[in-house]
Amino acid sequence: MKTLSFLRRSFEHGVHPAHHKQQTEDLPIQRVPFGKDYIMPLGQHIGVPARPVVDVGERVQRGQLIAEPGGFVSTALHSPVTGTIRDIGDFRGVDGRFAPAIAIQADAFATQQADAGPALDWQSLSLEDFIEAVQMAGIVGMGGAAFPAHVKLSVPDGVRIRHLLINGAECEPYLTTDHRLMLERPQALLEGAEIMRQKLGAEETVIGVEMNKPDAIEVIKRHIRPDQPVRVVPLKVKYPQGAEKMMIKSVFGKEVPAGQLPRDVEVNVNNVGTIVAVADYFLRGMPLIERVVTVAGPGVTYPANLIVPLGTPVRDVVKFCGGLRPGTREIIMGGPMMGRPIASLDVPVLKGCSGVLVFTEQQTARRKEYPCISCGRCLEACPYFLNPSRLARLSKSRMFDEMKAYHVFDCVECGSCTFACPSNIPIVQLIRTAKDDLSHRKESDT
C-alpha cells in the first residue's frame, strides 16, 4: 500500500474542488502603476511586529529599510515606493482589527525602477550571515502564511536538511501566481533554489508541481542545467496538495508526526514565490517590496496576474482590473479555501497575500444547514486524519476544552471538511471559533 501511494504521488484523503484557474492561467504577469497611498503594517508576518526606523515626514526611496525586525521571529520592512512617510499609527488590517502600520505617500510620477543595492556575494557568506541577510531582506513564506523564511533556515545543531522541497502545487482554486512565476521566471526560481540548497547543505532540490500545470513542469525541466541536482515531481491534482506536510508525504512518502516540523524528516519546504524573492535579493539586490497577486473571480471585470507593490490598498488593485462587476458580494484575500474575506477595500496587499478574489451572490450565498447525518465524509476528507464531525459538534456545544483531546490544534483549517460536508455545516468555522476561544483564554489566564 505504501509503495502504491508513492506511485500515485499523493497523500491520503483530501478533496477535489473545481480549480477555476482558466480565468488567469494564460495571462502574463503585469505591473500595476503606482497609486498615491501605501500602508505597510508592521506585523504582516507571523511573529513579533517590526520596529519602525523612520519618522513621519521623512523621505524614503523605493527599497529603503523602513522597519527593522522586532525580534528573531520577525522580519524587516522596506518601502515599496519612493515618497514621504505620511503617518505611523493604527490602520485597519486584513482581520478587521486596527494594527500599527507605516503610511507612505508616493511621489507623483515615481518610477518603479528599484534603486536596488548591489548583488550580494552569497557564496562567501557564512550561514549565520546568510540567515540574517534573509531576515533583513524581509523575506517570508509567500504561500499565504507569511512565516519568516529565515526562521525555517535556522536549523538547530544536529539536524540535517537533505532535501530542499519547493512548493509549486498551488492547490487553491483560482490562484495562478506560482504557476505564472514558474512559467515566466524559471531561471530565477532555479537560481534561488541553488542558493538555498547550497546554504542548507541539502543534497537535492525537488520542485513539486500539480499535474494541472504541465507547461510549468516542461519549462522548469528545460531550464535545469545538467550540474544542478534538481528534480521536478508532478503531483496528483488534489486539495490540499500544497500543505507543507501533505507535500512531503506525496513526494517522499514520509509523514511528519503531529507537533513536529518538516526539518524533523530532513526536509525544508519553501514556496515558489519565496525562492524567487531569495534570488531577487541575493542576485539583484531587491528586497521584498512587491509580490505577484492573482486578481480573479466572477466579480472582477478584467482578471489578471499582477506585480503589486506591498501596501497597495485593495481598492487600487481592483480599480486597475476594471473595477467590480455589479452584484459583487464578497472579496477574499488569499485563496477561496483558506483566505479571509475582507470588510474594507482600504486593506492593503501584504506579503502573504497571493490572491484577491471577487465573488458574487451566486458563489457566496449561504446554503441551508442540515443536521449532521454522520456520513463520515469529513473524516475521509481530513488530510490530518482528525474527526471534524466530532470537533464541530463539540464546538457547537461550546465544549472547547474537550476538543483538545481530539487534537483541535493539529487542524490547519484547510477547509476540506466543510467542502465535503453534504449538510453544509460550517465545520472549519466552528473549529476556528474554538481555537480562537482556547487561545484567547490561554492569554487571559497568564
Binding site: 478587521g96 470588510a343 460550517p426 476556528r432 480562537d436
Partner: protein, 281 residues
C-alpha cells in the same frame, strides 16, 4: 459434591475476609466530614456559576464552614438565602454590593457605521475570527449574541438595535458574559453607580466619531465636569474610579456630545430604546 460446595465456600471466605477489611478500614480510616458542609451546600443555589471565585458551590460551602469566605460573596442566592446560611453558621452575612454586567459599548445597528455585511456562521467569536463582522468599529459589540447564549441566568437578551440588554434583576454577576465576549466588552460594576462609559474605542476626535455616532471622541469634558479625581483619561477613554472622588453626579454627562458617557437610572440602552419608540410613533 465436594467440589460443588468448595466454590461457594471459597467465595464466602473471600467475601468475609474483604468484609472484615472494610469494617476495620471504616473504623480506623474514617474521615470526619463536617456535616455542616453538606447542609450549607444544600442551602446554596447549586448553579456552580463561579461568580464567588470558587470552582463550584461545594468548594464554596467548604470555605464558608472554614470561615474563609462570607456568605454574602455568593451573588446568586437571594437575601433570605444568605441570611439563612449566616444564621446557620453563626457568622456575619457580609453584605456585598450588588454588581451587574454592563456593556462597554453603545453602538448598535443604528449608531455604528456598517462597512460590510457579515453573512458567515452566526456567533460573535466566529465573526471576530473572520474580519470583525460588518461594523466599521473594530472594538465595539459584534451584536451576534454570544453573551445571550452564555448567560446562565437568562439575563441577557439582544434588543432590536442589536445590543445585549442586561436584565439587572436577573443578572447575578457571574462572569459568563465577560468570558464569552471576544471583544472583552462586559465588565461587572456596582449597580448603584449610575455613571458609566459606553465606549471602547481607543481613537480620538473624528477618527472615533467616523466609526460610530456614540463613540467617545476623547474631548475630556466629562473629566473637567466631574468631581476631581473621579474620572481620568487613559488611552483616549475616560476611566471612572468608583472608589475615589466622592459620589458621582450626573453633571459629568451633560456636555458629552456623543452620549458615550451615560447616567444610568436603570438599565443600559433605555434612552436609545425610548428614542426609537418615539421616532416610530
Amino acid at each position: 459434591m465436594n467440589s460443588l460446595l468448595l466454590a461457594p465456600a471459597i467465595m464466602a471466605a473471600i467475601g468475609l475476609f474483604f468484609g472484615a477489611v472494610l469494617a476495620i478500614a471504616q473504623r480506623f480510616l474514617k474521615v470526619d466530614e463536617d456535616p455542616r458542609i453538606e447542609a450549607t451546600n444544600d442551602m446554596l443555589p447549586g448553579t456552580n456559576c463561579g461568580a464567588c471565585g470558587q470552582p463550584g458551590c461545594l468548594p464554596f460551602a467548604e470555605k464558608l464552614v472554614a470561615g474563609e469566605v462570607e456568605p454574602g460573596e455568593c451573588t446568586v442566592s437571594t437575601d433570605e438565602g444568605i441570611e439563612q446560611i449566616a444564621e446557620f453558621l453563626q457568622v456575619d452575612a457580609g453584605r456585598q454590593e450588588k454588581l451587574v454586567a454592563r456593556l462597554r459599548c453603545g453602538g448598535g445597528g443604528v449608531q455604528a457605521h456598517q462597512i460590510a455585511e457579515y453573512r458567515g456562521f452566526e456567533g460573535c467569536r466566529a465573526a471576530a475570527v473572520v474580519s470583525g463582522g460588518g461594523k466599521g468599529c473594530a472594538w465595539g459589540c459584534l451584536g451576534l449574541g454570544d453573551c445571550e447564549v452564555a448567560c446562565t441566568f437568562d439575563a441577557i437578551h439582544m434588543n432590536a438595535n442589536g445590543l445585549p440588554q442586561v436584565d439587572t434583576e436577573k443578572c447575578r454577576a457571574c462572569p459568563d458574559c465577560v468570558a464569552a465576549c471576544p471583544r472583552d466588552l462586559f465588565e461587572l460594576v456596582p449597580l448603584k453607580q449610575n455613571l458609566y462609559v459606553q465606549c471602547n474605542v481607543p481613537l480620538a476626535g473624528e477618527a472615533a466619531t467616523q466609526l460610530c455616532s456614540v463613540a467617545c471622541d476623547a474631548c475630556g469634558k466629562c473629566v473637567a465636569d466631574a468631581a476631581p479625581g473621579l474620572i481620568r483619561m487613559e488611552g483616549n477613554l475616560p476611566i471612572i474610579d468608583y472608589s475615589a472622588g466622592g459620589p458621582a453626579r450626573p453633571e459629568a454627562v451633560f456636555r458629552c456630545a456623543t452620549r458615550s458617557i451615560v447616567w444610568l437610572e436603570k438599565e443600559q440602552f433605555q434612552e436609545q430604546e425610548s428614542r426609537r419608540a418615539g421616532a416610530n410613533s
